[in-house]
């Protein structure tokens, strides 16, 4: 192709993570010829983002955390444009302009576009955050950088006790580091666990030598006495001081909206998509951490930045991009993890609205009466909680015994009235046979 000829592809995908892979697999099952271009700032083949902690800990190599085989793009006939930043998207002319004009002097045209650009780590303003050895932990690049620096580090401060904070903490503990977690709220994993189950996790963390400080935050990073350009500690809002020689900021991620702000693509907290994963601009789709797609617990569009939703949304987008009308079943925040050898699953709500900080007063008695909570805790950290609203499952937490968790999330997704058999939901070693017998034939056939 002559360099001055404008590039054009039938499908352009911005991103090369779970959403992009989902879309590519769907596209190629339907369209074997249409050119697919996958553009990403990342320089790697699609890798498993949740596994960067295993890479850091040294329990998995780079090859072992690849999400698909290393020849994925070749096999799928995709042209990857990696290590390249998009400057802007012209949604009217349907063109993508790359930042590096010496490499890409011409825009890249598209017929269908998928915005699978993900989220960016959120770092609030903190004094001294320009010091060395302060990192975020959301990409393989972050993990590689930390891995090269972590050798002579003894004590690490992790800011944020969410999933990212806990997974990096586990990796650092495996590497023999001392870790202090500072969490703004009253408990770790507050997106996933209620107070009682978070308490189980706190004990586990402390049992493994992790120091946990809640209801506090970092206001200022301090330098080392030997070298002020390197981080040596932090001053907390409470006035306490913490010594550390590395900091990981794991407060959360926010949708990367820079390419769509001020364009025709409608945004709320993320890019708003319909059940086909299509944005307000026809032929332009979005999925994953950047998208606000249908959430079946809250019955509205909502951010739910988890890996499975990205893949699923990408797959649905891919089907629709190739012309097969396909509907997103909806999702919600659903996570399963085994950090510090404690199996946990969590889906949907973890507390009642009236229990949420600052909301106690504005939830009416009438609203409270619509909820019912089933709860059971037993020895060896067994914990289960099911939140029911108007007879429908709205939240699940399971610790230790996570067998059959998907049966509960499926009832949740399908809005099945569960009041009549609610005790069955609390069965140990939960199986589909615990459901009422008259429901079984249809559910075993996957009929909804």
């Amino acid at each position: 192709m002559a360099p001055d000829q404008p590039l054009k592809a039938r499908y352009v995908i911005l991103g090369n993570s779970a959403g992009a892979v989902g879309a590519i697999e769907a596209l190629r099952a339907l369209d074997h010829e249409g050119a697919i271009l996958a553009i990403s700032e990342e320089a790697y083949a699609p890798y498993s983002r949740p596994l960067i902690a295993d890479f850091l800990a040294g329990t998995r190599t780079l090859t072992q955390i690849l999400y698909r085989a290393s020849d994925f793009y070749v096999k799928k006939g995709v042209v990857p444009v990696l290590d390249a930043r998009v400057e802007k998207v012209d949604f009217e002319a349907r063109q993508v302009w790359m930042a590096d004009r010496s490499r890409f002097p011409q825009p890249i045209g598209f017929e269908k576009l998928l915005l699978a650009v993900g989220g960016a780590p959120f770092v609030p303003p903190m004094e001294g955050s320009d010091k060395k050895n302060i990192f975020t932990f959301t990409s393989l690049k972050d993990a590689v950088t930390i891995k090269t620096r972590v050798g002579d580090i003894n004590k690490v401060l992790v800011i944020g006790g969410g999933l990212i904070g806990i997974c990096v903490t586990e990796a650092l503990v495996k590497l023999g580091k001392r870790v202090i977690i500072v969490e703004l709220l009253d408990r770790v994993l507050n997106m996933n666990l209620d107070k009682a189950s978070s308490e189980i996790y706190r004990k586990r963390l402390e049992g493994r030598g992790v120091t946990l400080i809640t209801k506090d935050s970092v206001v200022k990073f301090l330098g080392r006495s030997s070298d002020d350009t390197k981080v040596g500690g932090a001053l907390l809002k409470s006035g306490d001081k913490i010594d550390c020689d590395m900091v990981i900021v794991a407060i959360g991620v926010r949708p990367r909206l820079d390419l769509v702000k001020g364009t025709a693509v409608k945004i709320n907290k993320g890019i708003t998509v319909d059940r086909h994963m299509e944005t307000s601009v026809p032929g332009v789709y979005a999925c994953g951490d950047v998208a606000e797609a249908y959430d079946f617990v809250w019955d509205q569009n909502r951010l739910s930045p988890i890996w499975p939703n990205a893949y699923l949304g990408g797959r649905i987008a891919g089907n629709n991009m190739a012309g097969k009308v396909s509907e997103y079943p909806g999702s919600t925040g659903m996570t399963s993890f085994t950090y510090f050898d404690l199996p946990v699953v969590s889906a949907g709500m973890n507390m009642l609205p009236s229990e949420e900080v600052g909301r106690a007063g504005d939830v009416t008695d009438q609203e409270c009466a619509r909820y019912e909570v089933l709860m059971k805790s037993a020895k060896d950290n067994f914990y289960r909680k099911v939140i029911i609203k108007d007879g429908l499952i709205k939240g699940v937490i399971m610790i230790k015994d996570v067998t059959g968790a998907g049966i509960l999330t499926d009832l949740m997704r399908d809005r099945v009235e569960v009041s009549k058999f609610r005790e069955a939901l609390m069965s140990e070693e939960l199986g589909i046979a615990h459901l009422p017998q008259e429901m079984l034939p249809a559910r075993l056939r996957g009929e909804h």
């Binding site: 399963s336 699953v345 998907g406 996957g446």
Partner: protein, 147 residues
């Protein structure tokens, strides 16, 4: 009948020795059965992977262990599995088991692709389990075993 022989032969089929005595007496860690007999009086049935058209386990998988093979069928690569359990959180049937003893991997039915006929089908004394190729248009009747 709910005899559970399908579970036994599933273990044997996925053992190293493929020998029933060695698999149960000598092999450690012993593989988990990928079929599970559910007994709800008066019915009992063996449940294994339903081979969904749009498998949520593949979407759920964080590591890429659960993936589509060349024929587009969901397959599990245990060497890539980290045992996070996300597939279990998404499988509507509870057909995936966590194998915590076996390096934290999960066990999912593979229809005994290497052996030909699935071991559970071959050894079902009552012929309650059978393998049927279903047209895409037809509904996938569950393999069901009446007591």
């Amino acid at each position: 009948m709910g005899c559970g022989l399908c579970e036994v032969w599933c273990v044997v089929a996925h053992s190293k020795s493929k020998d029933i005595i060695k698999a149960f007496k000598e092999e450690s860690p012993r593989p988990l059965p990928r079929i599970k007999v559910h007994r709800v009086k008066p019915t009992s049935f063996g449940l294994q992977c339903r081979f969904c058209d749009e498998p949520l386990c593949v979407a759920a998988c964080l590591s890429g262990a659960m993936h589509y093979n060349e024929e587009g069928i969901a397959e599990h690569d245990a060497s890539k599995c980290v045992g996070c359990g996300t597939c279990i959180l998404f499988c509507p049937f509870g057909a995936i088991q966590v194998d915590r003893k076996n390096k934290h991997v999960v066990a999912k039915c593979d229809l005994c692709v290497e052996a030909g006929e699935p071991a559970c089908v071959e050894h079902c004394p009552n012929r309650a389990l059978y393998l049927e190729v279903v047209d895409e248009e037809e509904t996938d009747e569950p393999k069901k075993e009446e007591a």
